[in-house]
């Protein structure tokens, strides 16, 4: 018995197994008379499989994942020097590309060309829709949250609020809500873009001024509440927002000025190009902000607010600015969602969206624009693949387990994210150097 209590590895293994079983039951289907412990075995109508490779009771998959995480943790502990030097070498490639001016230009050019011809490569209708409604929209959301959380270091758990404000502002401006249209006439969603961005930014300022006096966890809780309030408003204010049904009359984009006539219609590809233009625009604006005095001030506030104040930076002003600027891209994402699907309702703006966007930012690398874009594309594409062609036995509600496991592994091997930000990565890199020098 003593051996069991004293052996560290055994204790850790038992803990890993218990967590695996817990997750297994919690995420499993509800039991039935024929499959009472369905969390472990899989329910009668849900034949379980091991990543679609072979059929096995449900728990094997979870034990496998738990052990995988545990083993990688042990490997990290034991061979941390070798592993991290190897992963550093592999994962240093993006940094190398970005540090050299000419290779960076070539890479960016190649990526732009690739994104331009992407709809020609991806011809499947499902995937073309996903490109707009799941990938491009989430890239926009991740870019916006990256300004708030990555640059300014403010943990925002209610980012969906700005997305919802953008979408509902579009619906209002186009006259698709029970309310009279915003400007009296039903304007086209194309011209609702500045309106929605403006409303989202104003929402950022209104939320920011009272709450950004709070720090850390308190701010996270208040923003969480704000996200919920917006969803509940949308749900409960029937006469204003259309209640739980939302609005399904939002027109598609169309330009109709004199000789210039273009209608976006039903096909996703035109939306893709419109969104691409705005994604590029937001990337340019955000990265020039990052390297300006505003970006430096955000970093200063994130690193040490008291010291930032002592050199004359008004923290509240810059934090509110981060909220408003981050909200802008979320507001635009709202316009795209509303105009492309014609339809919005409160169910599209839940806490899950906020958390999903935060996961994209953390996975990609907080404070790194390239990181969050790649992170968003990668995670959203994989999620959509699992929805589109699920391996046999895969249940859609398990998605977050896999993403969670992925995040845990990421945090062990690469805490800075896929492509760590220079301004964040540097401090950790140097801490490492100092430790090795000291020893």
């Amino acid at each position: 018995m003593n051996i069991f209590l004293k052996s560290k590895i055994l204790k850790q293994l038992v803990a890993t197994l218990m967590i695996s079983f817990l997750v297994c039951v919690v995420t499993g289907p509800s039991g039935s008379p024929t499959a009472p412990a369905s969390g472990f075995t899989g329910s009668f109508n849900n034949k379980s499989s091991f990543f679609g490779i072979f059929s096995a009771p449900r728990w094997t998959l979870f034990v496998f994942l738990g052990l995988l995480v545990y083993v990688s943790f042990r490997i990290k502990l034991k061979y941390s020097e070798n592993v991290s030097s190897f992963t550093d070498k592999v994962l240093f490639i993006p940094r190398k590309i970005s540090s050299n001016q000419s290779t960076r230009r070539v890479t960016i050019g190649a990526l732009v060309v690739f994104s331009l011809i992407l709809p020609k490569i991806v011809t499947d209708h499902f995937w073309q829709t996903v490109l707009v409604s799941q990938i491009a929209v989430y890239v926009l959301l991740a870019l916006g949250l990256n300004v708030v959380t990555g640059f300014a270091g403010l943990l925002d758990l209610g980012f969906v609020a700005f997305y919802a404000v953008g979408a509902y502002a579009t619906a209002w401006a186009t006259g698709s809500l029970p309310l009279p249209a915003l400007f009296g006439i039903h304007i086209d969603p194309f011209f609702a873009i500045p309106v929605a961005i403006g409303f989202a930014m104003i929402a950022g300022i209104i939320l920011g001024i009272p709450t950004l006096r709070l720090r850390g966890d308190y701010l996270a809780i208040v923003t969480l509440g704000f996200g919920e309030i917006i969803t509940l408003f949308a749900n409960n204010l029937y006469g204003i927002t259309g209640g739980a049904l939302g609005s399904n009359q939002i027109p598609h984009f169309a330009i109709n000025i004199g000789p210039v006539k273009y209608a976006w219609g039903l096909a996703p590809v035109p939306y893709y190009y419109l969104t691409l233009v705005f994604v590029v625009l937001f990337i340019i604006i955000f990265s020039s902000l990052e390297h300006s005095r505003v970006g430096r001030s955000w970093t200063a506030i994130r690193e040490d607010e008291v010291a930032a104040e002592s050199v004359g930076i008004n923290p509240l002003k810059y934090k509110v600015m981060a909220f408003a600027i981050g909200a802008a891209s979320a507001g635009f994402a709202g316009v795209i969602t509303a105009a492309q699907s014609n339809f919005i309702n409160p169910a599209s703006f839940t806490l899950y969206v906020s958390i999903n966007v935060l996961v994209l930012v953390i996975f990609g690398g907080m404070g790194s624009i390239a990181g969050v874009v790649f992170g968003a594309v990668f995670i959203q594409a994989v999620s959509m693949y699992l929805i589109h062609t699920p391996p046999s036995g895969y249940q859609s509600q398990d998605l977050y387990i896999y993403i969670g496991a992925l995040l845990v592994v990421m945090m062990i091997f690469r805490p800075g994210g896929l492509i760590p930000a220079k301004r964040r990565g540097r401090s950790t890199v140097h801490a490492k150097v100092q430790v090795t020098e000291g020893s």
Binding site: R296, S297, E303, V306, A308, S310, G312, V433
Partner: protein, 265 residues
């Protein structure tokens, strides 16, 4: 000579605990003034009251700017006071660790001028001119404190002595009239201390910035300060030149004991 700081009967309480009680202090323009006293005497509280981090309940603090009306410090936000011309360093050096030495100082240099978010987004000629001025100021100050070679290092990789210099440069970048140094020599070795004292004197002599100093190293204080205030339990117990302070019985009882110079004798 005109005073730069007039502190009159300042009392600062934290829920019944009196941190400063009726402190009065006057600093002449261009003076190197030191505040000494045992731990917990209220030295840093006084600094925090002067820079707006704490808000004293009673008393007056006025900061007399050159060619402008006196500014009443109490009730002002720290960033406003910094903009008005009061710079400071911290007891445990607080830098922006993720930024380079250069960027740390540049933040100080640019935070006082008015290029807003729009200017920062679309780098126009005005923004570029502004950046150029900030860069020049930054290089000038890095050369002044002797950190120019370390400009592109991450600030967290600097040694203690260099961090102190960096903080001084960052403070000076805000173009202050007075620089508040909170234990600048803490954690530095004897040769760094000598360099630091020279640097502080140079700041006053070359830049005309008044210095207010908290320090425990008596050698440094006695050689550097022109006048000294001694705090104990939140009140001023003595004020005078280094020689007067060294001879003051109340100060010897409360703080100095037998000073190192006495022991050498």
């Amino acid at each position: 000579m005109e005073n730069i700081f007039d502190v009159d009967d300042v009392t600062l309480r934290f829920a019944g605990i009196v941190s400063l009680s009726g402190v009065s202090m006057h600093q002449k323009r261009g003076e190197i003034l030191a505040v000494i006293g045992p731990n917990g005497a209220g030295k840093t509280s006084l600094f925090n009251s002067l820079t707006g981090v704490y808000q004293p309940q009673e008393g007056q603090i006025s900061f007399n700017r050159k060619g402008q009306d006196a500014l009443s410090i109490i009730g002002k936000k720290p960033h406003k006071i910094s903009t008005a011309g009061v710079a400071r360093t911290f007891q445990a050096s607080r830098m922006f660790n993720a930024l380079t030495t250069f960027e740390n100082v540049k933040i100080g240099a640019e935070s006082h001028r008015g290029i807003g978010a729009v200017g920062a987004m679309f780098k126009g000629p005005a923004t570029r001119r502004d950046e150029k001025i900030s860069d020049e100021t930054t290089w000038k100050l890095l050369n002044f404190v002797g950190l120019a070679e370390k400009a592109n290092l991450i600030s967290s990789s600097l040694s203690y002595g260099d961090r102190r210099r960096l903080e001084i440069a960052r403070g000076l970048a805000t173009n202050p009239e007075v620089l508040l140094l909170d234990e600048p020599a803490a954690g530095t070795n004897p040769s760094e201390k000598i360099e630091l004292a020279e640097l502080i004197r140079k700041v006053r002599d070359d830049m005309g910035v008044s210095i207010l100093l908290i320090e425990h190293d008596m050698k440094l204080v006695m050689s550097l300060a022109e006048r000294i205030y001694v705090l104990n339990f939140g009140s001023v117990i003595a004020e005078g030149t280094p020689a007067e302070i060294r001879a003051n019985q109340a100060v010897i009882d409360a703080y100095l004991g037998t000073t190192s110079t006495d022991r050498e004798k």
